[in-house]
């Protein structure tokens, strides 16, 4: 199951009306005519305002902001190395374009096809004191490395009594649905890592966020996994500072204040719920609070459920995400929790 969104309702009552949505209601939709294809994305990227606090900015999309962050890191930290499959020529998503030419082939290099090896190797590099930035080509391929991440990286400091650590390891991976990725190029595996103490899991929603969060992950003295929403690589464009800047980890951001319903999401889904919030305001007169969680682990519990949260809830917490099936090859538009599904859940929650 790909969890891409989260809905919390502070003030609502569940209607005991006609019962839960019957199975197969979606099945009453006419079958897609052969040849008809969905081309539009399920979200509209909403850029943030140009920041003034960090000096000169440049128009960058997501992969360019990642390149900029890596460029800053390699220039300031002489021990930093970047490695992964195909990173030398620039990477399959162009996140490392130009870095090998600029910093040399012993700092930006390709590994063979071996995820477990890449992460294990990265842990070693980090333990020895260098800054290791490992790329896993798609988040779907991170599973051979799961043991290394969970059993080795996450526990190194703890089991050695702080004698050793691999805090200078950052693992980057393209993440999330992209429209045509099917089973193995669309997964969002953050939930698997969300229960592993010792690592940090971060997912940005935009180029501006990505650069700041990635630089924070690299600086952070703990192993971090940085998932980059691949559908935003080109689609998201913002004015991003050229110099390095840091966005703190484990701090959620309230994008829009509201009083009736709280919507929490991360990555691409933040843009979906922003639209849902607008729809809810216009059509239902409901005031929504929109929160970008950013760091999945350790997450900002304080921002999301302030104080005696549970007793204040007027409706059960609702999660809106993908179906409990593998990410499908052809049903993708139906599978993903687009704004209509979120809006529908919100509406039902209001009427609880």
């Amino acid at each position: 199951m790909a969890a891409a969104g989260l809905g919390l309702c502070r003030l609502a009552v569940l209607a005991s009306g006609p019962g839960p949505l019957r199975a197969g209601v979606w099945g009453r939709l006419p079958p897609l005519a052969a040849g008809s294809r969905r081309h539009a994305a399920h979200f509209t990227f909403q850029p943030d305002a140009e920041p003034s606090a960090h000096g000169q900015t440049q128009k960058m999309n997501l992969f360019q902001s990642i390149t900029s962050a890596l460029d800053n890191t390699l220039s300031r930290d002489p021990t930093a190395v970047i490695f992964g499959e195909d990173v030398a020529f620039g990477g399959v998503f162009r996140c490392t374009v130009g870095l090998r030419d600029k910093y040399g082939k012993d700092r930006v290099f390709n590994t063979p096809l071996c995820e477990q090896g890449i992460v294990g190797f990265g842990i070693g590099v980090a333990v020895a004191g260098a800054t290791a930035i490992a790329e896993i080509q798609f988040a779907d391929y991170i599973f051979p490395a799961f043991d290394q991440i969970v059993n080795e990286a996450a526990k190194y400091r703890y089991r050695s009594g702080d004698l050793f650590n691999c805090g200078s390891l950052t693992i980057r991976a393209p993440w999330g649905c992209v429209g045509h990725g099917a089973l193995y190029h669309s997964q969002s595996p953050e939930a698997f890592f969300a229960h592993c103490p010792g690592i940090k899991v971060v997912i940005p929603r935009s180029p501006l966020q990505a650069k700041g969060l990635l630089l924070s992950c690299i600086e952070d003295k703990n192993p971090c996994i940085f998932f980059e929403p691949k559908i935003l690589y080109r689609a998201a464009v913002e004015q991003v500072p050229v110099e390095p800047y840091y966005i703190p980890l484990s701090q959620a951001e309230v994008l829009q204040e509201g009083s009736d319903v709280t919507l929490v999401a991360w990555g691409t889904q933040v843009h979906v719920i922003r639209e849902v919030a607008t729809m809810a305001q216009e059509k239902l007169g409901v005031s929504c609070e929109v929160i970008d969680l950013k760091t999945i682990l350790p997450w900002d519990t304080e921002a999301v459920c302030k104080e005696e949260c549970f007793l204040n809830l007027e409706a059960p917490i609702s999660r809106v995400c993908g179906y409990d099936t593998p990410f499908p090859h052809i049903f993708e538009p139906f599978y993903i929790p687009d704004k209509w599904k979120c809006y529908d859940a919100l509406r039902k929650m209001i009427n609880y």
């Binding site: 199951m1 809905g7 839960p20 949505l21 019957r22 199975a23 197969g24 209601v25 979606w26 099945g27 939709l29 079958p31 897609l32 052969a34 040849g35 294809r37 499959e85 195909d86 020529f89 390709n110 063979p112 096809l113 071996c114 477990q116 090896g117 779907d140 391929y141 599973f143 051979p144 045509h180 990725g181 099917a182 089973l183 193995y184 190029h185 059960p316 609702s318 999660r319 809106v320 995400c321 993908g322 179906y323 409990d324 099936t325 593998p326 499908p328 090859h329 052809i330 049903f331 139906f334 599978y335 929790p337 599904k341 979120c342 529908d344 859940a345 039902k348």
Partner: protein
Amino acid sequence: MRKMLLAALSRVLQGPAAAAAARPGAVSEVSRVVVASRNYADFASEATFDIKKCDLHRLEEGPPVTAVLTREEGLHYYRTMQTIRRMELKSDQLYKQKIIRGFCHLYDGQEACCVGLEAAINPTDHVITAYRAHGYAYTRGTAVREILAELTGRKGGCAKGKGGSMHMYAHHFYGGNGIVGAQVPLGAGIALACKYFGKDEICLTLYGDGAANQGQIFETYNMAALWKLPCIFICENNRYGMGTSVERAAASTDYYKRGDYIPGIRVDGMDILCVREATKFAAEHCRSGKGPMLMELQTYRYHGHSMSDPGISYRTREEIQEVRSKSDPITLLKDRMVNNSLSSVEELKEIDVEVRKEIEEAAQFATTDPEPPLEELGNHIYKNEPPFEVRGPSQWIKYKSVG
């Protein structure tokens, strides 16, 4: 009298017909006349060919250096390879028209591998490969229309449209696997089952030159050798792991030696007879209980890694052209057959025409077949007697899985 006349006619017409054959694509009046009055007795029933000697690792003897090809076999291999070639080119076309979406890894250039392997094993043997699987889906018995319908994601596809290019399955063909190298331990497991059931079956476990660097491959080598599993590990070395050439990815590019304690042979993967003989040799080795064997097939793919890869940023067009002109598997077979009177250019052209027609019809089916119904989204997650509820996107959306 009639025979003499025919013989004289064919001798007279041989000259211009041969010249016509030399011009690719030329259809001359002369060859049309020859087709009309062709006598099948003019063809030889079989011929013997010299094939390249295989490099050996931990083996005293290798596969034979000559191979006998009968006319029927030759025509069958030609037709099969041509069908795969045309099918892949049609997939290319459909992808560019955006009728096929997602990922599409094409097999053209490597046809001799799958057809040669199939020729050497029984239909009851087992095959498992990675994502470049269209050729194997065909040789293992899936119809072209089902393959193309699977690519276009329709319910007539061999996996009901739920798998796509990378996940095609057939009788005793276990796919079609997306995660690189993950299929190799599965292959060993299938081989164990073969040994256990005692039905004299073997498993062909294929992977690529990129996958050869995955850790689980070596774990599998150990298990297979330790338990003497009837498994043939086959590395289809097409020189590039996506965009990385073998020299840049592997400390040792002698993939047939990578099994270390497992005997290995390196085979010319562009020559179907070489592949067939080597596979027969390896299959015999496995069936006799001697344990696994490793084969490296040296082959080449004309297309890029997938349809999103133009295939020319890490290799030159000249290289691709060179392989196409000197080592194309279909051309090699065709030349052999024509030069040894196993067939004629015209007969093979006829096969080409039939194959083209078959592919066109299949493409027509693939574009017009309806998509699977939305109920299929939740099906086949688990096997359950009563249908169970799949969690939907929110707690109010329920979805039933009925199988």
